[in-house]
């Protein structure tokens, strides 16, 4: 067997490329989040709305987006849309797939949070003569955010992890960089441990903050 170079030296040589990949992963997650959050709120309002047709359409969008694996959605967008004459590069394809998937989960989180606000709040808003819209945005939503925020953070951590699926459509994100480094050095174990650590550096502190926030927000009731 070929003598191996020291672990830290090996990691040091691969790290710059991996960190560049991590930036792409973070960009994927960031853009998907910026698109997915308002979209999730929109879907939620469609599903919860009084109009039957709109709420059915919303429900179908959300249930398909949540029911299919993210990988399938990604393949449908990347390999499927060209058949309908829409050619997309891998990065925007990944954004569309991740944002849709994420927004559907967010929609359910919003809905659960809003439904957890006692019905009396709505009635109180009515009794005070507040407009429905004002009641929703200024009375219900702020209270709902208490249970929504930790759940959204958790979902966003999953979104960040799901960016690794973009590897399959050749987005040069962290996983892709790791695989390239692995296939040139054939030291897959060391490479993927480093890749795992790169993801963990982001997700571990994020999940600790989420848990702390969850406890804090539960306390203040």
């Amino acid at each position: 067997m070929v003598p191996k170079e020291p672990l830290l030296q090996f990691w040091g040589e691969g790290l710059p490329n991996m960190l560049h990949g991590l930036q792409i992963s973070a960009a994927l997650a960031g853009v998907s989040m910026i698109i997915g959050l308002p979209l999730g709120l929109l879907f939620c309002m469609m599903v919860m709305g009084r109009n039957r047709v709109v709420s059915t359409i919303g429900l179908v969008i959300v249930e398909i987006g949540r029911g299919m694996p993210a990988l399938i959605i990604l393949y449908l967008v990347y390999f499927g849309l060209p058949s309908f004459g829409i050619l997309l590069e891998s990065f925007p394809s990944a954004i569309i797939a991740l944002a849709w998937n994420y927004s559907c989960y967010c929609s359910e989180i919003f809905r659960a949070g809003i439904q957890a606000v006692p019905g009396g709040q709505n009635e109180a808003g009515d009794a005070l003569g507040l407009d429905d819209r004002i009641t929703f945005f200024y009375v219900i939503l702020p209270q709902a955010f208490r249970s929504i925020i930790p759940a959204l953070l958790g979902q966003t951590i999953l979104l960040f992890q799901d960016t690794s699926l973009a590897y399959t459509v050749a987005v040069p994100e962290l996983m892709k960089e790791a695989y390239t480094y692995g296939s040139t050095t054939f030291q897959y174990l060391r490479v993927f441990v480093l890749a795992g650590l790169c993801y963990a550096v982001v997700t571990l502190p994020a999940s600790w903050i989420t848990r702390w926030l969850e406890r804090r927000l539960a306390l203040s009731y």
Binding site: E63, I64, G67, M68, P69, A70, L71, I72, I73, Y75, L76, F79, G80, P82, S83, I157, Q161, D162, S164, L165, Y167, T168, M175, A178, Y179, G182, Y188, L189, R190, V191, F192, V193, A195, G196, Y199, A200, T203, L204, S207, W208
Partner: protein
């Protein structure tokens, strides 16, 4: 018709991975949940870190790590073994956290009441606490099982011949035509269809568990 049959030929593998990984996770999650609640701080920290790493590192990284990282000239791990073992470990992490939450949600008075009645620790844990905790966590476990079913699709990236892998093989022969998209759409719908019985089973189980208590 043909794309449907191709995708369906991967169904047994999808089910095998999901069931086997869930079984590993459900069993391995028990000692890990106890580890998350133990009074011995160093043990608790180590188990917490292990659970956080299992949950915080993407599934695809774990699968590649097992598939490509653990193979040596003398020891080979097959793609299926890597998928089952990897998803099983990750499930153990998630389920341990779910179990822990359930145990924590049982009111403290129940532990104290069991102690006051002189019920031995092990009996009170399995006879008093666990049944109540099971009722609390059964919906979360069902949600996780449905998630696991969908995540088993990631095994296709290490060439396990499950539904998505079969769909991919067919799609690649019919690229840039509708036949190149059909298998993915079919596979996607199958995942949605498959998750319905799990949800129904869980609702039934939940209703039964509730009846058993009242």
């Amino acid at each position: 018709m043909e794309p449907l049959l191709v995708v369906l030929s991967g169904l047994p593998m999808t089910l095998l991975i999901t069931v086997a990984a869930f079984a590993i996770g459900a069993v391995l999650g028990i000692p890990m949940a106890l580890g998350l609640r133990t009074g011995i701080a160093p043990v608790r920290w180590i188990v917490r870190l292990a659970v956080d790493l299992l949950r915080g590192i993407p599934m695809i990284v774990w699968l590649f790590l097992l598939k490509f990282g653990l193979s040596t000239p003398t020891f080979r791990i097959t793609a299926l073994e890597a998928a089952i073992f990897g998803l099983g470990l990750i499930s153990a992490g998630y389920l341990a956290d779910i179990y822990r939450g359930g145990l924590q949600a049982v009111p403290k008075g129940q532990y104290e009441a069991a102690a006051a009645l002189g019920i031995p620790g092990v009996v009170s844990f399995f006879g008093v606490i666990v049944p109540q905790a099971a009722r609390i966590v059964s919906p979360s476990i069902a949600t996780y099982a449905i998630g696991l079913l969908k995540n088993s699709s990631i095994a296709s990236t290490i060439a396990v011949a499950e539904m998505v892998f079969m769909a991919q093989g067919y799609a690649k022969q019919n690229i840039n035509s509708v036949a190149g998209v059909m298998p993915y759409a079919i596979a996607g719908l199958l995942y949605i269809l498959l998750s319905i019985p799990i949800a129904m089973l869980s609702r039934k189980l939940d209703a039964n568990l509730r009846k058993a208590v009242i």
